[in-house]
């Protein structure tokens, strides 16, 4: 296996090159030939099962993994139905003994494709694929089993396998183990993936799907042409235009539609698109020929689309992170439809739509609204954030994720995600913030994952539409990293967060803290001046005050706040009063101004968090925050001022 795997991986890399593989496969041996022999024998058994399986080109691709045998059958089946030639070709292609039928089953769908195997000789593509398949078969580990999963005809089965292939494509390294997990519906990767994935089986099946099932929404489609006319092209820059893409696409055939996936909040391209040709032949040719094409200095990735992925992509802009996370740990899970989504379930459901739910207010809110959802998305992948603060364009990642990690690979996708958020166009402050948060969330997340991811990353933006991200960014960026990294913050923060799992507020709290520090410095004197009162109250949840502060800090100068403090106190509810006294006259003031607009949000969020923190051990927190504030204050004074 290992050697095989290695080979596969190598092949995989070269897959993009296309022709390389062929040679390699040949070199590696015999497998094709052997496979064929094996396949032949096995075919008979499966004939009945796969009568309606279409082999098509896709099939070849898929085969890599396990299915040579099964696929062969399928092919045979198809062939019988349609062309007699398949069986032979299939056998060769499939190679894998395991050839679980699952792959075959799917193949049935390909029945009608023009691409068909039998014509292997017909096209270099086919041949290549066969080679690949063979390899896959060889390397195919016993993953054939996974194929069986797919055996349900129809896409479902296919899907299972697909994920794997895709993953491999994207991530050769990950493949071996991950295929299952990463299984992304993208069948496309199948062919590519095959070489990588040990789980060829999946690939095969995946491939199979690709051809026929993919094209059609319905799982079984004997009449489906093997040729899938829909492709996904990913790993594009966000500034790569549709015109640039079209000029290259038209070389392969008549293009029916190009649909870019962009971030709903900002309109920015996610870096991948769905291309539909009129002819499946064009699609296959494009997939082979354009894969790896350099657009603006970046090699694109082309993969076939499966019905699932199409649905996923179309329905909502699945959170990449979700997929990312999912695929890794899940292994087989991804195989199911909506795999990416399933994983994503942990994350904010709101993310499902393009507009992460927050979009509604997000866009309208001052400042960031648009960014909020976007960022949140990236942020959600907390792991991503931490890993790649502002790495760059997440488009590719998104693509992969949407599909549950299709060809474009898990890791890259994961990486992309945060990067996507942190595009050059984004405020660097955010990046800092993100990073900072990432740092925090790291430890916090595992435990708090479910609520937090949704909340936390989005926390900033998501917490309140009215919260101006710029403020957060500023505060954070300037001190955030420092603060985060610093001391006190870490300690209390996680604690705070745990306390206040009131979602949105987590982020706020965090931000608040930083803010406080900035004001804290200035206030110190005043705070203590108010001293007696505040100290006592200080014990009350610092969190609350912090929350308030945040809002206030945002806009007002301390001086004004101080003056107003008293007024503010009266005004706010009791809780707030207490907090206010604690330290922030000016904060209250700020808040006051904000209140009319944000009160609702603050109250909502705050109350939950406040009560929580208070119940907990407000005192402890207070003390902590206090000292922290002091420190922060000193440190932050400059920035805030």
């Amino acid at each position: 296996m290992d050697p095989t795997t290695d080979e596969q991986l190598d092949y995989g890399d070269e897959e993009y090159g296309g022709s390389h593989k062929m040679h390699q496969y040949h070199g590696s041996g015999t497998i094709p030939a052997l496979a064929e022999d094996e396949m032949m024998g096995e075919d008979d058994e499966y004939d009945d099962l796969y009568n309606d399986v279409n082999i098509g080109e896709g099939f070849l691709q898929l085969q890599q993994s396990e299915g040579p045998a099964p696929s062969v059958d399928a092919g045979n089946g198809n062939c019988q139905a349609q062309k007699a030639n398949f069986p032979d070709s299939r056998a060769g292609g499939i190679g894998s003994e395991e050839a679980k039928i699952p792959g075959v089953a799917t193949e049935g769908k390909y029945a009608g494709t023009e691409v068909r195997f039998p014509e292997q000789k017909s096209g270099p593509v086919v041949e290549r694929e066969i080679e690949r398949l063979v390899d896959a078969a060889q390397s195919a580990r016993p993953s054939a089993i996974t194929m069986t999963l797919n055996s349900q005809v129809g896409n479902s089965g296919y899907q299972g396998s697909m994920p794997m292939p895709q993953k491999t494509g994207a991530d050769p390294i990950a493949v071996p183990g991950k295929n299952a997990s990463e299984a992304t519906p993208l069948v496309n990767s199948g062919p590519r993936v095959v070489p990588h994935m040990p789980t060829n089986q999946l690939n095969s099946s995946g491939n199979v799907n690709m051809n026929s099932p993919i094209i059609n929404e319905t799982p079984m489609r004997p009449s489906l042409e093997n040729g899938n006319t829909i492709l996904f092209v990913g790993e594009l820059h966000w500034w790569t235009t549709d015109a640039e893409l079209e000029s290259v696409l038209t070389q392969y055939g008549k293009v029916k539609e190009i649909k870019f996936f962009d971030e709903r909040a900002s309109g920015k391209s996610k870096g991948y698109c769905q291309v539909e040709f009129f002819e499946p032949v064009s699609a296959s040719a494009c997939k082979e020929g354009m894969n790896g094409h350099i657009f603006n200095g970046r090699a694109c990735v082309v993969a076939f689309a499966t019905p699932q992925t199409i649905k996923q992509m179309g329905s909502s802009y699945v959170n990449k992170t979700q997929n990312q996370v999912q695929s890794q740990p899940q292994g087989r899970r991804p195989m199911n439809e909506g795999v990416g989504r399933g994983g994503g379930a942990n994350y904010t459901p709101g993310d499902a739509g393009r507009n992460f739910g927050r979009g509604s207010w997000g866009r309208g809110g001052p400042g960031m609204p648009n960014r909020g959802p976007v960022r949140g998305r990236g942020a959600m992948g907390s792991k991503n954030m931490m890993g790649n603060p502002g790495a760059g364009n997440g488009a590719g990642g998104a693509f992969g994720q949407g599909l549950g990690g299709p060809a474009f690979g898990g890791p890259p996708a994961g990486l992309m995600h945060p990067q996507g958020m942190m595009d050059p166009g984004f405020d660097p402050g955010f990046m800092g913030r993100g990073a900072g948060y990432g740092g925090f969330s790291g430890p916090a997340f595992p435990g708090m994952m479910p609520p937090f991811p949704a909340v936390y990353p989005m926390g900033l933006p998501g917490v309140s539409p009215h919260v101006n991200p710029a403020f957060f960014g500023r505060g954070m960026a300037a001190n955030g990293m420092g603060m985060m990294g610093t001391s006190g913050m870490d300690g209390p923060h996680p604690g705070m967060w745990t306390d206040t799992s009131g979602g949105g507020w987590v982020g706020e709290e965090h931000g608040r803290r930083t803010r406080e520090s900035s004001y804290g410095g200035e206030d110190n004197a005043s705070e203590y001046g108010y001293g007696e009162v505040s100290h006592d109250k200080g014990a009350r949840s610092s969190a609350v005050s912090r929350e308030k502060e945040r809002g206030s800090e945002r806009d007002n100068s301390e001086r004004r706040h101080r003056d107003e403090r008293d007024h503010d106190r009266e005004r706010h509810d009791n809780r707030e009063h207490r907090y206010r006294e604690e330290r922030d006259g000016f904060r209250d003031y700020c808040q006051k101004e904000r209140e009319p607009e944000y009160e609702e949000d603050y109250d909502r969020g705050q109350s939950s968090s406040r009560s929580r923190s208070r119940s907990r051990a407000a005192q402890e927190e207070d003390h902590r925050s206090r000292s922290r504030d002091t420190n922060y204050g000193k440190r932050r004074r400059a920035p805030s001022e």
């Binding site: 594009l236 966000w238 500034w239 790569t240 235009t241 549709d242 015109a243 649909k259 870019f260 962009d262 709903r264 900002s266 309109g267 920015k268 391209s269 509604s360 207010w361 866009r363 309208g364 809110g365 001052p366 609204p369 009215h466 607009e597």
Partner: protein, 200 residues
Amino acid sequence: MVTSSIVNTYPLSSYTFGTKEPKMEKDTSVADRLARMKVNYMKEGMRTSVEGILLVQEHNHPHILLLQIGNTFCKLPGGRLKPGENEIEGLKRKLSSKLAANSPGLQPNWQIGECVAIWWRPNFETIMYPYCPPHITKPKECKKLFVVHLSEREYFAVPKNLKLLAVPLFELYDNIQRYGPVISTIPQQLSRFQFNMIHP
């Protein structure tokens, strides 16, 4: 086009509002609308639409005249330009179609001011952005918003199926949920104008 950063706004009371026959929406649903948009795009290319921001003042605060369809959806008076039509002329045509009485004698003399905002629709979807996203070379629609300087006295005839509302700027500000991104950001576009509130 009048280019001036001063806008004279008159109280609502200085205008007379009548009614006229209903002006039904051409599309029964969003999907229909998008489908029709697609068809038109194939025929005529990118759609250019123009909308007018008609301002009045009440309580010393500018109000915008919006047409309300149904109970919730508000839109600015305006519409799609014919292929090759001049923007200003097209806007006048649309304003008259929506708000002017049918009789030729009562056609308002529309004073179209500056274009204060341009929104782009990159795909056949309902989303628009105040810029054309960088990866889109063929936006599907371009919507331009113009300030319309109303004269002191006007007679408006509002179609029976629509309601004409005068919405204060503060109601629109930061209210994207209710009014959408285009209308809710009008206060920002108008912030650079100086409003001359003329009282009765």
